[in-house]
């Protein structure tokens, strides 16, 4: 992934983030999205090998970016869930990684960051459409929801949705493979013979994995 792609994707994601922030201000939407949907995405993020080391989206990054991006961390979240960052941090790191020669496709792409302050505030002033649901505290730069309203963004959740897309080699078949089902394949074409020679060169043993 090139820097241009990251940048354009970042702009695109900014609008997505705004849309999601609006969506989360709707009744019954925020709790579900913040607690459940992103959890699997977080697992994907944490499973990514590039999240350790220089691109480990650590607490320091969050602290550093909090001032700029008004991110907040929920202290009740598991430790692994805090290893998140804003897209701009990733973009900044992207440059660092490029200079250090790390392969492009190892760089994670954060799709959007939904951040909620733990003290039931909102880091940005929402649109006028929801102005009747709370008030804007200029001194604290927080949006305080009105009591009795469903507008409860500040449950102290930080939800990160990663761009979980990945590139995958595809094998079109005339049958359907289901999860948990075996797929035996046998090939003996000329192309297979070439592939055999290459694969045999790659591994000294001819019998497989697992």
């Amino acid at each position: 992934m090139t820097t241009e792609l990251v940048t354009s994707s970042s702009h695109r994601c900014a609008s997505t983030l705004r849309a999601k922030l609006r969506a989360c201000s709707l009744p019954a939407a925020s709790l579900y999205r913040a607690r459940h949907r992103p959890s699997s995405r977080l697992a994907i993020l944490n499973a990514s090998p590039c999240l350790s080391g220089s691109l480990g989206l650590s607490e320091e990054f969050l602290s550093a970016s909090r001032a700029d991006h008004e991110l907040a961390v929920d202290r009740q979240m598991p430790k692994t869930s805090r290893t998140v960052s804003s897209r701009s941090v990733i973009n900044r790191e992207h440059g660092t990684l490029q200079r250090s020669g790390v392969v492009d496709h190892e760089i994670p792409r954060v799709w959007s960051v939904l951040c909620f302050y733990p003290e039931s505030g909102w880091p940005q002033r929402p649109s006028r459409r929801v102005s009747h649901l709370g008030r804007w505290r200029r001194s604290r730069r927080l949006w305080i929801p009105r009591s009795g309203s469903h507008y409860r963004p500040g449950r102290g959740r930080i939800a990160v949705m990663a761009d979980a897309t990945r590139e995958l080699a595809m094998f079109p078949l005339g049958s359907v493979l289901f999860p948990g089902m075996p797929l035996p394949l046998r090939s003996s074409s000329r192309a297979t013979s070439r592939c055999c020679r290459r694969c045999s060169g790659r591994r000294s043993t001819s019998s497989g994995w697992c």
């Binding site: 078949l173 948990g180 075996p182």
Partner: protein, 184 residues
């Protein structure tokens, strides 16, 4: 493709159903939902490859990439199905129907799975295995694969299996009628 897949950290590739066209030669049209196949073993002998993979997560194709030298796509994995207690009991009923249909259908056609095949103890995996052994055509199976919820999957599975059972029963009746027409 295989040499590329084996060279990666995770030995995985995607399997999608061909909508139109053939498996070889390219130019085929493919469906946009498939399953990640995780290579469990591969045996490379002189001139042939025997590969055994297992289906893992489902995915949807976000964007097809160039086919050269082999098909690739940008995919997004779909969430696993959530199974609650009523769904698990519905799964048991659907499984009984599928096994009964397999037992009946095996009288007429050769099926890859027997009616008493052992399945996984985990419901999340078992529900897909029940769908996988159902004696359905490719399009019917694909309709199951693209289900978004467990309830939707089981409803489709029961509907498709009952339709398949009706087809087998009708064929059986036709065969009996043909036998009756034979000269004694």
């Amino acid at each position: 493709m295989l040499s590329s897949v084996l060279g990666e950290t995770e030995h995985e590739f995607g399997v999608v159903l061909i909508e139109r066209g053939s498996e070889v030669g390219g130019g085929d049209v493919r469906f946009g939902v498939g399953t990640v196949a995780r290579i469990a073993s591969v045996e490379i002998t002189e001139g042939s490859i025997v590969l055994l993979a297992t289906g893992a997560a489902r995915f949807e194709v976000v964007r097809w990439l160039a086919d050269d030298p082999f098909p690739r796509a940008q995919v997004r994995e779909l969430d696993a199905l959530d199974l609650d207690a009523p769904t698990v009991s519905a799964l048991a009923a659907a499984e009984a129907l599928v096994r009964a249909t397999i037992a009946r259908a095996s009288e007429f056609v050769e099926l890859p799975w027997s009616a008493d095949i052992a399945l996984s103890d985990e419901s999340a995996e078992r529900i897909w295995q029940v769908a996988g052994i159902a004696p359905l055509g490719s399009l019917g199976q694909f309709a199951l694969l693209r289900s978004r919820t467990a309830t939707e999957l089981l409803a489709r599975l029961v509907e498709e299996t009952q339709a398949a059972d009706a087809r087998f029963t009708a064929r059986w009746a036709d065969d009996r009628q043909d036998d009756g027409d034979l000269p004694q």
